[in-house]
């Protein structure tokens, strides 16, 4: 049973909270506390907008143990509006024609369940962008 490893990254997971480098203003996700561009310390929190586009994607029919419940599911590399690339599932896409470059937005969904008795793990996924109103 895993508890603290999920708890520790809850803000990143639930809401795409990353970092911004105070020196060169590069936006960082996942957070790593050191700017990958200039090497300076970068611990300032940054809330990403959640908007991005699909860099690449694929659908899985075989899953690692612990992820079978949601098969088949679609994974993507998403290029965030602010720069970073993130790995996440695309959700609400069955029946949708997917393509590289399609605009997506972050939603918080159930990633997996640690068995019947363990924790439910929630985190970011992306879906085709809804039009507001």
């Amino acid at each position: 049973m895993e508890v603290s490893s999920h708890w520790r990254v809850r803000q990143q997971r639930y809401a795409l909270v990353g970092e911004v480098c105070p020196s060169c203003e590069v936006k960082i996700f996942p957070p790593r506390d050191v700017c990958p561009e200039c090497g300076d310390e970068a611990k300032t929190h940054f809330q990403f907008s959640g908007r991005g586009e699909v860099y690449s994607y694929t659908t899985l029919f075989d899953a690692p143990q612990g992820h079978e419940a949601q098969l088949p599911y679609t994974l993507a590399l998403v290029k965030l509006e602010e720069g970073p690339l993130v790995t996440a599932q695309l959700t609400d896409v069955n029946g949708t024609k997917l393509e590289v470059g399609m605009p997506v937005e972050m939603v918080t969904r159930k990633l997996r369940s640690d068995g019947d008795r363990g924790m439910l793990v929630y985190g970011y996924k992306f879906r085709p962008r809804l039009q507001a109103a």
Binding site: Q12, L60, P64, L85, T87, Q89
Partner: protein, 395 residues
């Protein structure tokens, strides 16, 4: 990153051993390792290794067995020597070889036994996938249900998107590997395939099909290495010299790479190994690259400088990579046909290259092989370990 004054002394491979790759239901991890060790030690003759380096990726998860150094040294009858496991995901084999080279080069050890072993078949596929996903970023890749195959499929789709390659562009790597596997009695698959077989293959994770991916195989391979002065003067074994050795890493997660379609660790380690060996790319007789997925072959050829970006797939299509081509690759079938033996891959590559350079490759023989480049990759190319081996009659 440049290793100055390499090599400080002559370091040689003086014995190799390999088990067949495949599903070894009746053999345990230690039995497989032992089989390869015995072969390599027999080839090496009287020399007793001063250290055992074990290359393995997943035994703690799949076999509930860590501490392989002591375990295998004991069962191989080598109590008293030093022994340790080297782990760098799929690059573990290359990394263990490199550490053997460094140990001998340091002068602290005269000879090292390297054994790569992986035992996948202890578990069912969902457990193996979960184990393999530990080679990525646990918090930001694996938690999303990532598999190695899915990451390769996403790279392949992006490659197709950026370079507008035709359908079936990667078929050449698969066809070549299976053609070569037909000449390898230790290969998991020993039958050639037709291009149509590739085209008809079921999708694993679009656009990546069954023939774009290597099958996982149990297997073990071993090498005996020694410094020149430790080898008896009367040894008749056609010893193989380590002409270059280099390892480099990139970000573990694809999403953290500057450019996911460029294996920069491959570029770094290849350039360094070539420079140590004092060779140009066109002097390389064969290249045992990491072909867990066909897309990786294309990306490795590009980053290693054998093809322009976006052009690596063409080497697979135009016959250049066959055993009679200008740059033979995966000459014993590679991971695709021999079978992907995880942490043992890099050791198999070395043992296979040794057979090529000694003219002992049988049906798989590449003519006039003088310099072999071998390259083990870990994860999605996060670790690259490149070695250049040279036949004994060469400078």
């Amino acid at each position: 990153m440049t290793n100055s004054n390499f090599p400080p002394s002559d370091i040689y491979i003086i014995g190799v051993g390999m088990t067949p790759a495949g599903e070894h239901w009746e053999k345990s991890l230690r039995e497989l390792a032992l089989e390869a060790i015995i072969q390599a030690r027999q080839e090496a003759g009287e020399i007793t290794p001063g250290a055992l380096y074990v290359a393995n990726m997943l035994a703690p998860v799949l076999s509930r067995q860590s501490h392989l150094g002591a375990l295998l040294a004991d069962f191989a009858g080598m109590r008293g020597i030093e022994a340790v496991t080297l782990e760098a995901a799929g690059a573990s084999g290359g990394m263990a070889l490199r550490h053997a080279v460094m140990a001998i080069a340091s002068g602290l050890v005269q000879s090292v036994l390297v054994v790569g072993v992986e035992k996948f078949s202890e578990r069912v596929s969902a457990e193996i996938e979960a184990a393999l996903s530990t080679s990525g970023d646990a918090d930001f890749e694996a938690i999303h249900g990532v598999t190695q195959t899915a990451l390769a499929a996403m790279l392949m789709r992006r490659y197709q998107f950026e370079y507008a390659v035709p359908e079936g562009a990667f078929a050449g790597f698969s066809v070549n590997a299976h053609a070569n596997g037909a000449g390898n009695p230790r290969a998991m698959f020993q039958r050639p395939i037709k291009p149509e077989t590739y085209q008809r293959a079921a999708m694993l994770s679009e656009p990546l099909n069954m023939f774009d991916a290597a099958p996982l195989a149990d297997g073990a391979a071993a090498l005996m290495l020694a410094s020149g002065d430790a080898i008896p003067a009367d040894s008749s074994y056609p010893k193989i010299r380590i002409a270059g050795s280099s390892a480099a890493v990139d970000a573990v997660a694809l999403h953290d790479r500057r450019d996911p379609l460029y294996f920069s660790a491959v570029q770094d380690s290849t350039a360094e190994a070539l420079s140590q060996a004092g060779l140009n790319r066109d002097q390389i007789s064969l290249f045992e690259l990491h072909d867990r997925y066909t897309i990786y072959s294309a990306l490795a050829l590009e980053a290693a400088g054998f093809a322009e970006r976006g052009q690596g797939w063409k080497l697979g299509q135009d016959g250049n990579i066959t055993r009679k081509g200008s740059l033979p690759i995966t000459t014993f079938g590679g991971s695709k046909a021999r079978g992907d033996t995880g942490g043992a891959n890099g050791v198999y590559q070395a043992a296979e290259a040794v057979l090529q350079l000694q003219g002992r490759a049988g049906e798989a023989q590449v003519e006039n092989a003088r310099f072999a480049m071998i390259q083990a990759l870990g994860g999605t190319g996060a670790t690259a370990v490149t070695h250049i081996l040279s036949g004994s009659e060469t400078p």
